[in-house]
Amino acid sequence: MMSASTGGGIRVKIYAFSAFSAVKSRSAGFVSIRGQMDSRLTFECNDCAHRNVVLPIDSPAERNSLAGNGLGRSSPRLNRGNFETILNQFIPAGHRSARYAAWGIVLLVLVHLCWLQWRPGSDVRRIFTAAAESAAARPATLPEESFDRIARQAGDANVVLKLAGYARTNPAVENSLGYFYYRTAYALYPRRVYVAPADQVINDGGDILRAGFNPSRQWLEEHDVRSALTFGNDHAGGETPHLEILPRDDGWAGTPTNQPGVNQ
């Protein structure tokens, strides 16, 4: 190996010196030369630092000249690899079978993925079916759509969440209550769904249950709350969740009570 510096201060390392490589490196201004004892030489280009510049070694004499420098095994199929590594001493002479194996693996992966997407129940099939259906034929009961519809009914005022019946005490509803709150809060924004005072941390449905939010009428009026969203079964057996417009003077809000349908 020999090394030198270029005018620009870049270190030049020549790992395989021969008349051939020296001429090429000088004329092309390469930063470094990385010999590959196959049928070509790889250089690092000074112009754009590309590492895979190849100059073919045309004659068997040139190949043997390079091989004779102790840079690779002088077998009929010469070793190829990176001279600056120790590993390349163990690189097998032929890569053909490994190359076929690699292609086989990639094709297998692709075919498997195509099959995954083509089989019944796949994502592609699901999308295709959904896209082919008319909007009217689609189930109108997707939870997110029904929650969004409820939110739209709230008009331009804020909403308070009311827990009713089993939803007030049953931890089993935590998950669905969380989903309900997240969805309606998202759908209503910039209007608000109040479930707790602003300094109360709500990380899940359980926090809403524990908050037991029961604002006074004055609080509701101050926060421009004009309707209540009921979650859980109410005493009248009505459908939930549902939205009710708060009557201004019926006194339900802010009244601490154990009556069903009121936040505790």
């Binding site: 690092e44 280009c45 112009d47 754009c48 630092a49 590309h50 590492r51 895979n52 510049v53 190849v54 690899g81 990176n82 590594t85 120790i86 590993l87 390349n88 690189i91 890569h95 490994a98 190359r99 194996a101 690699a102 292609w103 693996i105 990639v106 094709l107 992966v109 692709l110 993925l113 195509c114 995954l116 997407q117 796949s122 994502d123 699901r126 999308i127 295709f128 959904a130 896209a131 997707l142 997110e144 759509e145 969004d148 969380g178 997240y182 969805r183 809060a185 998202y186 924004y189 910039p190 109040y194 479930v195 707790a196 005072p197 602003a198 109360q200 941390v201 709500i202 990380n203 899940d204």
Partner: protein
């Protein structure tokens, strides 16, 4: 009409990215896939950051703001064109090889898959919990109010579930789409989500073409487009696939920097790492890992240029994300707060949980319904092309992948949630961040078997 406006918004993103790319890599030649992919990826990140900065000084996303950004992008392009510095499109590659005509097959499959993703996303409402509770909610907030003064949302603890401190790249990009469309239409707004996810494919191709010939690079690039995990989350509206896309750019340019130490690679590594850090909290960890690996390789090989580059990387990353770090510093954290927990003694006390976490991660990688044979393929390619372990950029990428998986395992170990509930619903999304690294590793190992690209003309190396 809203779809058309959304399309124009994506075009604006590309123009912004094209201008910045031309400034970073003047007069470079690229193929259509590389130019549109890289230009759009840089443009998306730039747009998100610009909208954030504008919001910080009191301008929420609006058509007027987008028009100003567009005018600056066009002015930049005209200026660069005058100096003959625009990135040029390479329409007729001189290195077309025998067999490359088969590229039409992976190309058609990829386009069909991406089209299906788009159809799936745009024909269904936002339904993923995280998509509407975290990312979609923030997009709505940012579309309504600028960050100065800070909207009440960011300090209202009843919204704690939506992780008030999460980065705002995806919400700002979505809010930008709402501004372009003139309405908050979250279903059409998912166009942004699909666009960012689809960019993983050209970014993968970009990284693969560095070392692979055209056909194998195209075949490998098709794999992410067909992955069930990508189909599942591409149109959901979450930030995981955008993070994977930015991470693809960051690890590719970090690897190239380690290999070649070119200034432009460093600049792009900083840009993409900064974008990733502004996309998700995991992105900040990945960006720091990028810098640590660059520094490690620089010090390990005693190359001054390389470790100086690593220092410049950290400085650039800090400069890009300083505004976000400062602004978000006072935001309330949830009980999760992985950042603090990972820096506390809890990491040590919770190590026994790894006995549950690591097997679950291994099992997830072999879930063929989610990943196909991707993880297995990368392992097999590494065995076949094991000589690539001698390459510093390959070693660096393995190291980055290892750090990524290790940091995720540690994050799970300190989570306040029940692991048996949390992992099944989040693990596939979390591991989707590793898709680019897996694809690059498979390709770069494959390149050692004689499928590397070797035709070259100076200035033409992006083939």
């Amino acid at each position: 009409m809203t779809l058309l406006a959304g399309g124009l918004y994506l075009l604006l993103i590309f123009l912004a990215g094209y201008a910045l790319l031309s400034a970073i890599q003047p007069s470079r030649q690229m193929t259509l896939v590389q130019l549109t992919g890289l230009g759009s990826a840089i443009g998306a990140g730039t747009m998100g950051v610009l909208l954030f900065w504008a919001s910080l000084i009191g301008f929420m996303p609006s058509r007027r703001l987008l028009a100003i950004i567009g005018a600056f992008a066009l002015a930049g392009l005209l200026f660069l064109r005058k100096g003959n510095q625009l990135v040029r499109l390479k329409l007729r590659p001189a290195d077309w090889e025998k067999g490359d005509g088969w590229m039409i097959v992976p190309l058609v499959v990829t386009l069909a898959a991406l089209a299906m993703m788009a159809v799936g996303a745009l024909s269904t409402p936002v339904s993923d919990w995280d998509a509407f509770a975290i990312w979609g909610f923030k997009a709505k907030v940012l579309a309504h109010d600028a960050l100065r003064p800070a909207p009440a949302y960011f300090h209202d603890l009843t919204f704690s579930y939506s992780h008030l401190d999460y980065p705002l790249m995806v919400p700002f990009l979505t809010a930008g789409a709402y501004a372009a469309m003139g309405t908050i239409d979250d279903q059409t707004g998912k166009l942004v989500s699909v666009f960012l996810a689809a960019l993983i494919v050209p970014m993968a191709y970009l990284g693969l073409r560095w070392k692979l010939r055209r056909l194998p690079a195209a075949c490998l690039s098709t794999i992410p487009a067909l992955l069930p995990v990508l189909f599942r989350h591409a149109g959901a509206g979450c930030a995981d696939l955008p993070l994977a896309m930015f991470h693809a750019g960051s690890i590719f340019y970090v690897a190239r920097w380690i290999d070649r130490q070119q200034r432009e690679d460093l600049v792009l590594a900083i840009l993409f790492s900064g974008f990733a850090a502004f996309t998700k909290n995991e992105g900040l960890i990945l960006a720091l890992a990028n810098g640590a690996v660059m520094l490690g390789f620089g010090l390990g090989h005693n190359r001054q240029r390389q470790w100086v580059g690593a220092v410049a990387f950290f400085a650039g990353l800090l400069a890009m994300d300083a505004a976000w770090l400062l602004w978000s510093h006072s935001l309330p954290r949830t009980h999760e707060d992985y950042g603090s927990k990972l820096l506390s003694i809890q990491v040590v006390t919770h190590l026994p949980r790894l006995k549950q976490i690591i097997p679950a991660m291994v099992v997830q990688t072999t879930d063929l319904q989610t990943w196909g044979l991707l993880w297995i393929m990368t392992g097999a390619m590494a065995l076949l092309g094991w000589q690539a372990f001698a390459r510093r950029y390959v070693l660096a990428l393995w190291l980055l992948l290892g750090l990524q998986l290790a940091s995720y395992a540690l994050a799970y170990s300190v989570t306040p949630w029940n692991l048996t509930v949390l992992m099944p619903v989040t693990l596939d999304r979390l591991l989707s961040h590793a898709i680019p690294a897996l694809i690059f590793l498979a390709g770069w190992h494959w390149a050692e078997l004689g499928t590397s690209q070797y035709h070259h003309k100076p200035g033409n190396c992006m083939g």
